[in-house]
């Protein structure tokens, strides 16, 4: 399995209230391969989301290097990192982050807005993605007209629509009941079957158990659970 993402001695520190640096993530070295499925588990405040932000290129390491497909992400510059996210990385959030005033279709189309695709093609692919997540009948519904599970499906469709290399899901079931949550994981797993890597942050052991690879993080230290 070739490496898609590589962390080499990566740390992340924030400035604490007293002005001293506060290291949230201690030196971490790990790789995530193409098509790999990884669960990140750990208690709240352990640094799960920080790790996910770093992996998703939303944040830059304080030290160490993060490479994506062999190129150093820190050296890319803001614009190329944005292009990378636009074309190749999908995100799913706990709070869905849908735009409340527009339809499911428009929300999914937003997933392609920062690519070079023309609007017509975006619409086609967004419709397909919504069919793929089982919402083909509800593409013109606004988020407020959808249930929580349906809203998260829209968010997943938005991540899938660009046919990403990797999908990051930060507590995707956190706002959903258990059954709906499992259905959502099912959906993400199905998407990963098409070739994308999948990294899911969760605190639910039953969900983590479904992943072949699990990373445990506590107090900023990452350990492989195998």
């Amino acid at each position: 399995m070739t490496a898609l993402l590589m962390l080499d001695g990566v740390t992340k520190a924030f400035t604490g209230r007293d002005g001293s640096p506060l290291e949230i993530l201690h030196s971490t070295t790990l790789t995530i391969g193409h098509g790999e499925r990884v669960a990140i588990v750990g208690p709240s405040g352990s640094g799960k989301s920080t790790l996910l932000s770093l992996l998703g290129t939303l944040d830059m390491p304080t030290s160490g290097t993060l490479s994506y497909d062999g190129s150093d992400v820190a050296a890319m510059g803001e614009k190329r990192r944005s292009e990378l996210r636009a074309a190749r990385i999908g995100f799913v959030f706990q709070q869905f982050h849908l735009i409340a005033t527009v339809s499911a279709l428009e929300n999914v189309m937003t997933g392609l807005q920062y690519t070079t695709l023309p609007r017509g093609a975006r619409r086609e692919r967004a419709t397909e993605a919504l069919e793929q997540v089982g919402l083909g009948e509800r593409i013109f519904h606004k988020p407020s007209q959808l249930s929580g599970g349906e809203q998260q499906r829209v968010a997943i469709a938005r991540a899938l629509v660009k046919q990403p290399d990797i999908i990051f899901a930060d507590e995707p079931t956190g706002a959903l009941d258990t059954d709906t949550g499992h259905a959502i994981i099912e959906l993400l797993m199905g998407a990963a079957d098409q070739g994308a890597s999948l990294v899911v942050v969760t605190h639910d052991p039953s969900i983590a158990a479904r992943f072949p690879r699990r990373l445990h993080i506590q107090d900023g230290v990452v350990t492989e659970l195998g």
Partner: protein, 399 residues
């Protein structure tokens, strides 16, 4: 690879539209200030223009359509006499309504009430020589008596301008006055003529009598000194050219001037009202711009989640900045459009109610709208920059 320009523009406008119109009541409130600013400017300048047009119509009634043709000067400064046919050729022009002919007065003619007045007290009165009908052309009305016509033009009779009558102490027809040692009977006294002020201080005698009475000056008296031409209201400048050409067909120089220069008065009026409209409009636009800036700051804070999401989806800080600037511009464009409509409607209804001619500066409307959009862009810049400065993680945490 870059996105095609049209797609980028469509994306930008679409995203801004979604953002700006997502909450309708807020959109209305935010763009209200801009709408009021534009409306104030459009309405006040429209009302000013209508007032001006109404005033212009009044000025035209006062004689803006009365032209005076006089001999011109050639290159050496010599007077070029008007040809004798000039009154006829001018009268034939389609826009000419009436023509009044005055001939050259006898030299050094002096007017006195009687022979007892010392010869040094000339009263600064001018003698004018008129052909029958000339007074109608200047719209002169008789206070008393009547004018010189074909029946009495060869008799020693005179018509007095209002000021001339006052200075001579003549207050009724039938009195006599003395011009160059010859008694004349006063047959009419004119009311003041606002359109041709020089008539007021004139003593007017008939052409036939003057030519016969001053045989030694016959040649000079027969020369036309002035032709008053009453025209239909219209473009004074082109009328003047037509009249000048008709007055001397061989192309000799002719002087044609408005009898009273009212055009300056017309330009001076109501500029102040337009300026007031511009100032009120500018102040209201500035306030409107601040209310948009204010709302955009709140919007940016509220929509941190969306900003974070868009960054995660691949938006650059520049994309985010443009989105919010465009949103602000769109808000003020909507407000500006409403303002133009409200302002124009106000100006129209005021003009209709006051029965004034409607004069709206239609070309100024897009400019007013453009100013509003510009204010929106400026107002949106600071909030948009704040939005662009948020890091994706900060923004995503924000909700």
């Amino acid at each position: 690879m870059r996105k095609p320009f049209v797609t980028r523009l469509a994306d930008l406008l679409h995203t801004a539209w979604i953002g700006a119109t997502g909450r309708v009541s807020r959109t209305i409130l935010a763009s209200l200030g801009i709408a009021l600013g534009v409306a104030a400017y459009v309405a006040l300048s429209g009302i000013a223009a209508s007032n001006q047009a109404a005033l212009l119509a009044q000025l035209d009634a006062l004689g803006a359509n009365l032209q005076v043709v006089a001999p011109g000067q050639d290159a050496t400064g010599q007077s070029v006499p008007l040809p004798a046919y000039a009154p006829d050729t001018i009268a034939r022009q389609p826009d000419v309504e009436q023509v009044g002919v005055f001939l050259t007065p006898p030299k050094d003619a002096q007017v006195f009430k009687n022979e007892l007045v010392p010869k040094t007290n000339g009263n600064a009165l001018a003698v004018s020589v008129m052909k029958p009908g000339a007074l109608q052309a200047v719209d002169a009305t008789f206070g008393q008596g009547h004018g010189i016509n074909t029946h009495n033009e060869s008799l020693p009779v005179a018509v007095l301008g209002s000021e001339a009558a006052y200075r001579l102490g003549v207050n009724q027809p039938g009195d006599r006055i003395l011009i160059d040692n010859e008694w004349y009977g006063v047959i009419g006294i004119l009311e003041a003529t606002p359109q041709a002020q020089s008539i007021n201080s004139s003593v007017i005698i008939g052409a036939k009598w003057a030519i016969n009475h001053y045989p030694d000056q016959k040649e000079s008296i027969q020369q036309i000194s002035q032709i008053y031409v009453r025209t239909k209201p219209g473009n004074a400048e082109s009328l003047r050219r037509i009249i000048a050409h008709a007055a001397n067909l061989s192309g000799g120089n002719v002087s044609v001037a408005a009898s009273a220069n009212l055009s300056q008065a017309r330009n001076a009026t109501n500029d102040s009202l337009t300026t007031l409209g511009l100032m009120i409009g500018a102040i209201a636009l500035a306030v409107g711009g601040m209310s948009i800036a204010n709302m955009m700051i709140v919007t940016v804070m509220e929509r941190r989640g969306e900003i974070g999401l868009r960054r995660a989806l691949g938006a650059t800080p520049g994309n985010i900045r443009m989105q919010f600037v465009t949103e602000a511009a769109l808000l003020s464009a909507i407000g500006g459009l409403a303002g133009v409509v409200i302002g124009a409607a106000t100006a129209i209804s005021v003009a209709v109610n006051a029965s004034q001619p409607l004069t709206l500066d239609w070309t100024g409307l897009p400019a007013a709208w453009g100013a509003a959009v510009l204010v929106g862009i400026i107002a949106g810049f600071y909030p948009a920059s704040r939005a662009a400065r948020l890091t994706p993680t900060e923004a995503l945490r924000g909700e």
